[in-house]
Amino acid sequence: METNKITVTYKKSRFSKFLTAITWVAAAISMVVLVFLVLFVLIQGVGNFSPDLFALEYTSDNGSLMPALFNTVFMVILSLIIAAPLGIFAAIFLVEYSSSTNKFITVIRMTAETLSGIPSIVYGLFGMLFFSSALHWGYSMLSGAFTMAIMILPLIMRTSEEALMAVPDSYREGSFGLGAGKLRTIFRIILPSAVPGILSGVILGIGRVVGETAALMFTAGTVADYAGFLDSGRTLALHMYVLSNEGLHMDKAYATAVILMVLVLGINALSGLVAKKLTKG
């Protein structure tokens, strides 16, 4: 049926104009929503900026976000160190080492999809009971990072898998044909050409860690201080949540949201640069 359409329509048909138009409309809607969101945050937040927000130490008066900013970066790095290799390696196993009809593979895919559907609050409760209580890590960055890692694992795994599958088989055949071993082919040929796809998964993962509140509240805790591995510390999103919760510091909460947005923009720009470097090299 679909092929019929292609052959009977003409180049300037109304239908293809319509197709073009609906993509424009959809994109326009997305952009309008985006502009609204950003303006909303900016209007509420920018007016409340003060040097206090960037004071080195948090007090209940200045509502400084510096410790939270540090903790956010720390948390992102920690959880990526755990989740990114796991996710990418798992994807490599799924794509390169097994046929897609294998039962085991189906099970892994199912579990990954199940993981991606578990609400963050359930992760939070699980993390609290398992990492904080059972493993005696208490409220700590480590508990938080492991919980986050499980949470973003399916995201990274699935997107990496898609990216790897998209690498044409001719690449593999060419590499094997030139006498390269499997590992060499994977690390030198396949991974580099799959980097943009993998990265999009990692960015989504970072976004989730940066924006997560419910799960971290129960695992990393809400202490407003610079945290080490086994110390409790709040990330920016949690900082914002805590500030907004009692309605006492709404102004600072919105200002924090602005910083959070800037941070996300920064991460995106950075990962874009990294992707460029990697694909070139």
């Binding site: 609906i22 309008v32 509240m217 309605g247």
Partner: protein
């Protein structure tokens, strides 16, 4: 500045609508409504944030009942009842004191809050909802009250710290800290500080009602780490207390974890917290765990309505009727 922003936003939307107009299919339906609604939102926002003249302008535009309410001095329309989640310290105190919790035939206490009441999960969500809805009524901690909403008098008594303390204002609840027998020396020293004249001065300065009969603080300046955690309602005043304590005892390192009352209690019994915070009384199950609650302050609960709502005084009986659904329309209260 804000007016300009909202104008700019409207401009963006008009462009968006124009773009939608280009196509003529069912898919345009969604974007058109989307754009239209957002324009209105821009107007409402401009209204709520800019001066009062802008707000009356906005509400005429929106054509809502808010306009007539403001001009005639009476209130009409459905009451949008906002409550807190079942089990929240604020809610339990509110329903008990207002008689919303009633005993049924078998003597069991039943929370009669009307099932259609909207549930908000935090003080700020209640405040934001009420601030944006002329027909809403809600209740929050007195310490969090600000000028985005209007606190009404209950039985003719204004919700102020003095009135709560004197007992004239009836809606209040205790702030508890929870400790175990194994509390460390520095933890005990901090508790002593909270329960001293100095500590209670901090409580009072934050707008809560201090405990009577305390004496001056005699610290021994022990050193060590303490983790305090629990109720988000108690956290703001606890942060101030920690800062004040740090000034008298620089040797101690006290962390404040914000979660909720129940986590505060259970984590204290699990040993994750040294001192727990709860904005409600302990249940029998909890006291059986060997925990000791101490009241460190009393907090009033303010009943709030939108700033444009002309009503400023309700009896506790009226509030009960609103929350149980016997009164459904503001006009019944004029």
């Amino acid at each position: 500045m804000k007016k300009f922003m909202s104008l700019a936003m409207t401009g963006v939307l008009v462009l968006g609508m124009a773009a939608c107009g280009g196509t003529s299919t069912e898919s345009t339906e969604a974007p058109a409504t989307d754009a239209a609604t957002t324009t209105e939102a821009a107007a409402t926002e401009a209204g709520s944030e800019a001066s009062s003249e802008a707000s009356s302008e906005a509400s005429t535009e929106a054509g809502s009942e808010a306009a007539d309410a403001g001009s005639t001095g009476t209130m009409e329309g459905f009451i949008n009842v906002i409550s807190r989640e079942d089990g929240s310290g604020t809610r339990s105190a509110f329903i008990e004191l207002m008689g919303i919790e009633q005993k049924d035939e078998s003597g069991e206490k039943v929370d009669m809050t009307l099932p259609e009441a909207q549930i908000s999960n935090s003080t700020s969500a209640v405040m934001t909802t009420v601030a944006g809805d002329t027909s809403a009524i809600g209740y929050i901690s007195l310490g969090s009250l600000n000028d985005t909403v209007k606190a009404i008098s209950v039985n003719g008594v204004e919700p102020t710290a003095e009135n709560v303390k004197s007992g004239d204002y009836v809606v209040s609840r205790p702030f508890n800290i929870i400790t175990t027998e194994n509390i460390s020396e520095v933890g005990q020293d901090f508790v002593n500080f909270i329960m001293s004249t100095e500590g209670q001065a901090v409580v009072e300065a934050e707008g809560y009602i201090p405990v009577d009969g305390v004496s001056a603080f005699e610290g021994t300046q022990p050193s060590g780490d303490v983790t305090v955690g629990g109720s988000s309602s108690v956290t703001p005043v606890m942060e101030k207390l920690v800062e004040a304590y740090a000034a008298v005892n620089p040797n101690a390192n006290i962390e404040v974890q914000q979660s909720d009352s129940t986590t505060g209690v259970t984590s204290t019994s699990d040993g994750l917290y040294d001192i727990g915070m709860a904005s409600r009384a302990l249940t029998d199950d909890e006291t059986a765990l060997g925990l000791t609650p101490t009241v460190i302050a009393t907090d009033g609960i303010a009943v709030i309505v939108n700033n444009e709502n002309p009503i400023s005084d309700l009896t506790s009986d009226q509030i009960r009727q609103i929350y149980t659904g016997e009164i459904e329309d503001w006009s019944e209260l004029n």
